[in-house]
Amino acid sequence: MMSLIAKLPQASNFAPLVDHLYDFIFWVSVVSFFIIVGMMGYFVLKYHRKRKAEDSTPYIEGHGPTEFAMAAVLFVLVMVIFAWGWMDYRKMLHSPEKTLEINIIGKQWFWNAEYPNGRKLKDELVVPEGADVKLTMTSADVIHSFYIPDFRIKQDVVPGQFTKLWFKPTKEGEYTAFCAEYCGFDHSRMLARVKVLRPKAFKKWYDNWKDEATQTEGDLTSPIEKGRLVFEAKACNACHTVDGKPLVGPSFLKTYGTKRPLEGGGEILMDENYVRESLMDPQLKISKGYPPAMPTFRGQLTDEEVNHVVAYLKSLSDGIATPAPQARNDMVQGDEESLEEKGEKYFEKFACNACHTVNGEKSVGPSLREIYGTLRPLQGGGSIEVSEKYLKESLINPGQYVVDGFPNLMPSYKHELSEEEIKALVEYIKGI
């Protein structure tokens, strides 16, 4: 009930600005409204037919000067509102030089956040009070929008592109982030907790995460290091060096953030969008002097891996030398884990558990307990054996064979899962 009277907290640097203009427009509106409705009410009372006979009204066609004056005053007012709104908006557009950069991936129907040190959060954001934070966001499927009312910030999160948002939290506390662009079934539940910690508390939280077992992944590597691993695993280094020597393709030493001349004229800033585009459609904007030989990595890199590669390339410009592989025993977990264990991790990482339980309980989708090898009735008649083929198919083309009694809502994971991840998930589900 508090919200019926109490105003929304001002928890970011932008909140007072937005509220100030909102209040100005509010009072302009209230005054205008009372003038109009007041005049209207007054005239209706004073000139009611009981008081003024119908054949005694004067013939008035209008009054140009009054009209013009009123229009001019209004024009000035709306231009003031426009200019004020625009100037505040420019502050929202231009983020400061030094920010804490967090990558956000919006997916149906949850938020993934990844910090520069590799720490990951799901449906949660932890930020330091008084520091500038920049979110670089993309969607894995449909358009979402990241909205924190108490901060007065919002930005659509679009698939295939990066959008940005920056802010400075000004008040310690817990707030809510909402998805503000309709995205399907669980749009109303796509919320995240936003925790603003005092700087010391934040530093403690940020640095000591290796000791807490609260993450969805035990992976301790930083995004930069992960990016370097992807760079090697996907053989980028077969054509691109990081030491300045051109090979088949340009070297990436100190290229991120610079303007690159293109084949056919023109130039482009090497930012996240250009890196992503070059990975997906390498033929589009080829660096000057290089052949169009780069293959596409569409379907071979997840959005997260793209983010990691970006972080790695960025680090080559920051003067941070490529970090030597750190000798932590649990750094690269993959080789010691079984396929089934990996599958269990992916099951949570990709939020399969948002719709499928493993304990027999029916949810949005069927429970996956003891389904392998059984016969499942299908929507529209017939049935199908839950084989490896069916499990794989359900991940790639879920609309094809929908289990009877469940809605046709499962999104396709064709572009999010690599072959290896699909294999692991199938192994895991087989064993439930």
Partner: protein, 525 residues
């Protein structure tokens, strides 16, 4: 000599093949009001869900409710609404013509409208649609619901809108009676004309947009789908290029009705005739330049945001001129508060709120906070319902005696007005606060702190429903039991009041010749 009136002409079968613009208008009237009722049922379901913070219905069902509520209200009720019903009946009469320029095309438009409506409605049977009436890609490409049926239904209905607009433009240009210069036309005609221009120029763009969306779903063309390298924001540009001008298709005819009613019921010449006439054209023109104000946080460029914000501010000026002029018309008038006038005055009250709240949304920094929240929902319901629908009710009561030859009950008219006015404000005023406090739109479940305001809104919707049922019931009752109306119960000076009530088939016994304007009330000094 007894002439049959247009309602009595021909048997009931003649209605299916009639070329009489009045019969076609009456058919549109009852059809669109039926769709209003169906759209209203969906809104009642929405408000029922929102009574409590937790889910009442299955979530995908709620998503289908708000999609159908929006699509039905917009494509099947409010866009055809005033132009196709009241415009069809009164445009020819008010310019002293016997019919519209292309009567067969007019009947064709009606059948095209029905075909499109049936096509869209069939989606209800085939699993419904859950994209929202805005069909944003990529969700509208991926969802496994009956998107193609609804979009193609809207596509077909769009042609009905285009052909109606085309008919009205030619009628206004070519069929005015002798002496009726453009500056002697009633303001309702100016409004319908400006609306028709938008209908003709904007609707083809939604046609191609929806066609492209269908092509995306069927052939994976790759123009809007990000996973195929397309741009989802391009869809938004295409979509809003029509859908913004569309809202002016909705409001301009309503404003035309308000001009008529205010003048007649205060017995005064409308204040600033030319200003109101020109402002209709100005609004129609500017409406094509502001579509990007729906996309301030979409990821479009800063420069686009700058342009769209400043242009949007511009449209406030001609709009404010109208409001000022209507109010000024009341000055030294002789005002009688019959039901049409109650609605016309309510329009000024409610539309002013709706218009002013648009200012919040046009300012980019504030829109960042308010976009996609309940503030927007409140804003557009104030302008569309508080504006257009209220104006429609004003027009319905004003012209009811003329169309049907029967007076509605003034008592029922006033009581139902009261319930509608109170119920409407109770439903939608709290939503401004909800939006300011951060409640997003299209949410089936919400944070408990918003519950109080939602309960207030749901109660308001029931008060509003009572008013609507009373009003329509009263109007229907009057068809059978209402007092017979004379030719000119209000003492109006526009040409339709020079005909019988109801009019004969050809409207006039002879085409009139005009020597004076439509608002010659008052004592000249």
């Amino acid at each position: 000599m007894e002439h049959k009136n247009f309602l009595q002409e021909g048997g009931w079968k003649s209605w299916f093949v009639t070329l009489d613009h009045k019969k076609i208008g009456v058919m549109y009237l009852f059809t669109t009001l039926l769709f209003f009722a169906i759209g209203g049922i969906f809104s009642t379901l929405i408000r029922y869900e929102l009574w409590t913070p937790e889910a009442t219905f299955a979530k995908d069902l709620y998503n289908k409710f708000f999609t159908f509520h929006g699509a039905i209200m917009i494509f099947m009720f409010i866009i055809p609404g005033i132009p196709a019903a009241l415009g069809n009946i009164f445009l020819p009469m008010m310019i002293g013509a016997k019919d519209v320029a292309f009567p067969r095309l007019n009947l064709g438009s009606y059948y095209i409208f029905i075909a499109g409506a049936l096509l869209a409605a069939s989606a209800i049977v085939f699993g419904g649609v859950d994209t929202g009436w805005t069909f944003y890609a990529p969700y509208s490409i991926k969802t496994q619901t009956a998107v193609i049926l609804v979009t193609m239904g809207a596509f077909v209905m769009g042609f009905s809108s285009i052909l109606t607009g085309l008919n009205f433009i030619v009628t206004t240009h070519k069929l005015r009676c002798p002496g009726m210069t453009v500056y002697k036309m009633p303001l309702f005609i100016w409004a319908i004309y400006a609306t028709a221009i938008i209908q003709v120029l904007a609707t083809p763009v939604i046609a191609i947009t929806l066609l492209l969306l269908v092509m995306e779903r069927v052939f994976q063309v790759g123009i809007f789908d990000a996973s195929l390298g397309g741009d989802p924001i391009l869809f938004q540009h295409f979509f809003w290029f029509y859908s913004h001008p569309a809202v002016y298709i909705m409001i301009l005819p309503g404003m035309g009705i308000v001009s008529e009613v205010i003048a007649v019921f205060s017995r005064k010449h409308i204040f600033g005739y030319k200003a109101i006439a020109y402002s209709s054209l100005a609004i129609a023109f500017i409406s094509f330049l502001v579509w990007g104000h729906h996309m301030f946080v979409s990821g479009q460029s800063a420069w686009a945001n700058f342009l769209f914000s400043i242009l949007t501010m511009l449209v406030a000026v001609p709009t404010a001129i109208k409001i000022f002029n209507w109010t000024a018309t009341l000055y030294k008038g002789s005002i009688v508060l019959k039901t049409p006038m109650l609605y016309a005055l309510s329009f000024i009250f409610l539309f002013t709120i709706g218009g002013l709240t648009g200012l919040f949304l046009a300012a980019v920094s504030v829109d960042v906070h308010l976009h996609d929240t309940y503030f927007v929902v409140a804003h557009f319901h104030y302008v569309m319902v508080g504006g257009t629908v209220i104006a429609l009710f004003a027009g319905l009561h004003y012209w009811w005696p003329k169309i049907f030859g029967r007076m509605y009950s003034e008592l029922i008219g006033r009581i139902s007005w009261f319930f509608i006015f109170v119920g409407f404000n109770m439903t939608f005023l709290p939503m401004f606060w909800l939006g300011r406090q951060g409640m997003p739109r299209r949410y089936a479940t919400y944070e408990p702190m918003y519950e109080g305001l939602h309960k207030l809104a749901t109660l308001g919707s029931w008060v509003l429903n009572v008013g609507l049922i009373l009003m329509f019931g009263g109007l229907l009752w009057s068809l059978f039991k209402g007092k017979k109306a004379g030719n000119n119960p209000w003492g109006g000076k526009t040409l339709e009041w020079h005909t019988e009530s109801p009019p004969t088939v050809d409207n006039f016994y002879e085409i009139p010749t005009i020597t004076e304007g439509p608002y010659e009330y008052g004592v000249k000094k």
